[in-house]
């Protein structure tokens, strides 16, 4: 860990302004990802801005009939909220498959969205990694790739985004609200929040330097059956090999988003038109253009079978 300075911001706008003042500054929320990365010197921020006391830890109804989730609401509180459990079951279920009880108590909504990849080479500072050190190369390509992306990857990076929560938010069409360094607020759909790696895998989201997430907004409830399946080698406390979040309506229509397959939660709205025709029909367009490695090609079959199983459960 490199020495760093620390401050507690008083308002969201002040936090954003402070972050823009020091190059490389980071917000710290629960710290469950950031501190680990700092200990390994994967992240070396010279300055930390603590955002825990900005009052962004409430969940409120919106005029549109949805929910505004403060950026600092813990994963535990979010998953336990009665409205979330009733109207956004997919989100509650996805959250509860993540990490462990202790971690979820600390982990925040914004921190979860911004958690970094679990690519093992990203974590080994002796190895080349374009995401950790732009231009150094990618050790994963040609290496151990079982966990890594099958779609949307690039020659520069084949990492996946590890969040479960983000998969649910993508299926639910959430909106991310932010405040920028100049104090102005903006909002963008979750679909535009995470980026594909391209030539710049170190740039992971649409956030500008210093931009602070203030809330995540859910539109009004979708109804339907909401099922989240996380497939993994051990029963708990493991990242997904593949996860499938689906919202299924009685008329056979529905939505589906995937985790564990790409650099961002993966959803192709056009593929959802095939939902009434079953998993096989959906997965074709959903994973069109997938370029798996020999080690992770199984994820394509796994996505299809998991979705098929979800459809059976939803019918039953």
């Amino acid at each position: 860990m490199r020495p760093f300075t620390y401050e507690r911001a008083a308002t969201p706008a002040a936090a954003a302004a402070a972050a823009a003042r020091t190059q490389g500054a980071r917000f710290i929320a629960g710290g469950t990802n950031l501190l680990d990365l700092m200990k390994l010197q994967i992240e070396t921020p010279p300055h930390l801005i603590d955002v825990n006391e900005l009052g962004l830890d409430t969940i409120e109804a919106t005029e549109q009939g949805g929910l505004r989730i403060g950026a600092l609401v813990s994963n535990t509180d979010l998953a336990a909220d009665q409205r979330v459990r009733r109207d956004y079951e997919l989100l509650a279920r996805a959250l509860l498959t993540g990490a462990s009880g202790q971690l979820r108590n600390k982990a925040t909504t914004a921190g979860n969205l911004l958690q970094r990849t679990r690519c093992p080479y990203f974590y080994d500072t002796a190895q080349p990694c374009n995401k950790r050190k732009p231009g150094s190369g990618c050790a994963a390509i040609g290496g151990f790739t079982r966990q890594l992306a099958i779609i949307g990857a690039s020659e520069a990076c084949i990492a996946t985004h590890p969040s479960d929560m983000a998969v649910a938010l993508r299926a639910l069409d959430a909106t991310v609200e932010t405040v920028q360094a100049d104090g102005s607020a903006r909002a963008f759909p979750i679909a535009e929040f995470h980026r594909l790696p391209g030539d710049t895998p170190h740039v992971e989201t649409a956030l500008e330097p210093g931009e602070l997430i203030t809330a995540v907004v859910l539109p009004k409830p979708l109804g339907g059956r909401q099922i989240y399946r996380k497939v993994r080698d051990r029963a708990s406390y493991a990242f997904a090999l593949v996860s499938v979040g689906a919202v299924l309506q009685p008329d056979g229509s529905g939505r589906v988003a995937l985790g564990g397959v790409a650099h961002k939660p993966w959803r192709v709205e056009a593929a959802e038109r095939e939902m009434p025709r079953g998993a096989n029909a959906v997965v074709g367009p959903l994973l069109a253009g997938a370029r798996p490695t020999r080690e992770n090609a199984f994820k394509i079959t796994l996505v299809e079978r998991t979705l098929a199983s979800i459809l059976v459960e939803a019918r039953g």
Binding site: P120, A126, R146, D233, S236, S309
Partner: protein, 736 residues
Amino acid sequence: MKFDSPAAANPIDRLKVIGRPLDRIDGPLKTTGTAPYAYERHDIVADPAYGHVIGATIAKGRITAMDLSAAERAPGVLAVVTAQNAGALTKGNYNTAHLLGGPAIQHYHQAVALVVAESFEQARAAAHLVRIDYKAEPGSFDLYTAKGAATAPEPTDLTGPIDTHIGDFPRAYAQAAVRLDETYTTPDQSHAMMEPHATLARWEGDRLTVWTSNQMVAWSTGELATTLGLPPEKVRLISPYIGGGFGSKLFLRADVVLAALGARAAGRPVKVALQRPLIANNTTHRPATIQRIRLGAERDGTISAIGHESWSGDLEGGGPETAVGQTRLLYAGANRMTSMRLAVLDLPEGNAMRAPGEAPGLMALEIAMDEMAEKLGIDPVEFRIRNDTQVDPEHPERPFSARPFAQCLRLGAERFGWDRRNARPGQIRDGRWLIGLGMAAGFRNNLLAKSGARVRLDSRGIVTVETDMTDIGTGSYTIIAQTAAEMMGVPMDQVQVVLGDSSFPVSAGSGGQWGAASSTAGVYAACMKLREEVARKMSFNSADAEFVDGEVRVGNRSAKLRAAAAEGDLVAEDSMEYGDIAEKMQQSTFAGHFVEVAVDSATGESRIRRMLAVCAAGRILNPKSARSQVIGAMTMGAGAALMEELAVDTKRGFFVNHDLAGYEVPVHADIPHQEVVFLDETDPMSTPLKAKGVGELGICGVGAAVANAIYNATGARVRDYPITLDKHLDRLPEIA
């Protein structure tokens, strides 16, 4: 004392204390966090300096340049130790690679420097400032590629013979009515114990004391002296509490050597814990194996030919994984062959992990037995019992000292409800889950080693046992106290046990499941001597004296035990050694493992529902601690079956998933109800306590029992461990 004839009736047989399921006497220390582990010896040194280990970042090659200057100037830094400035170091006998590498690099994360600073954080930060340039060389990192060039290793005490041939295997196999020829693989595995390797080192003049976490105190004291070029009597090693080892702490490792060197360089005590991300590549691991098994049988299920070949790899000068050992002893069969071949790999060094040899060997053999039973149309339990043997099949003149193998299997089958198993796989469903039952035999030899102890009686009647034996979480403290309590006729709270100090009599240490039986036998020997001293002091005839309820009784005369020490402590020291009983008779331990699994019919995820082990391991000294050993080992076996694998990057030459996020071991949610049954058995050929080891038996066979249950659930056989979903996904039923 020498043990060279079967144990007769002796004071242990009273079973007033021995054989009781007593709580571990170190339990409160563990549960309150007050057991003094090596890294937490604030009681010894209040302000040690901290060392941070730097591991090599290439797998093979040389260091071409090192720049320590920035690190040396960093805040709080006291010293930076490297092979260049450490002085002459000699490689010990038990490690293959140097514990402080450079300029030559033998494996990834081989230690190349230690940064010592006032605080842990300063040492860690400064370590990032050390600049090292390497010249990498190509290496051999893939067992599958290197297999072709594998050769027969030199036999050692640990390996036994490399090849064995009995009868005419090729002919019998060719002529067998039913044949099986399959290849199985097991991956490299990491011990993944909770406590990392950790050491506090302090020099007083030319004398060195290390507080560390080590299973084998005498071995490692000697190895430390050898490595540093010190006379052995100048080195003291203290290892009273160990947060798990599973074989990774049998030997001297880099933490000890570097802490000692760091303390010398900094001129003050230094402590070092190997950072978790270094452990997988810096220390030892269980080597991967490729195993070919051929079985030939008559139609009635009699095995006529049994062949087992194993390939593994290690650094130049290392040894093989002895995966064929159990196949020499477990089943009858007139025509047999086994062989081991060793490939040179430039991966980190392989060595013992819980039940080395048998654990991976049975993972293969016991799938093969399941496959053969199916080919024969015979129940897997019956098939194994039909090929039971009461003698060493390679040397029929050597009987087993005790072999209730068939009983373990029969009782297990009955308790588990084995008759409910459908022999046709893929038939039973519970919603979306496919349900299967599987079983396998467990087998592990009983090894015994010379073990000594010192016992002291004081005027309060307290009996104190001192031995360099270790407790790696197994319950050594407790069974040693039970032994002394039984022998001296005192209650448990009158016994004190002090372990893990090289200034104490040399014990067997903890490894190879030899610790419990060997160390208690040593305590027995010392107590016999103390009983004689007590009797002499009281002018009793020692042969007639009974030690009971804190008294010594002969006929109708009795005296308080403590009275014998009224004028001063009585001290006795002895050790137990073994004659040639083990050569004349084969001593082994046996188990039947039974497992029920559920496999998600869509995703192929396998989850265990029930586990049962029926074990025969001689007298069980403490059923509670023995059960804990077995359920822990079953958990490890479940991990081996379902998830544990060090992923090899065959291009860059290292284990990629080198932390506990990447190397998955079972969590609570993976482990269901576990039942353990011990047969009521004594083995008078083992030790006076008639006990054998059990800590490794518990893992032996578990992996195959899980594998066989998965097959029974799905009908898709997987022969490559771990059985992750990708290995059978494309053979699972259509989703309807």
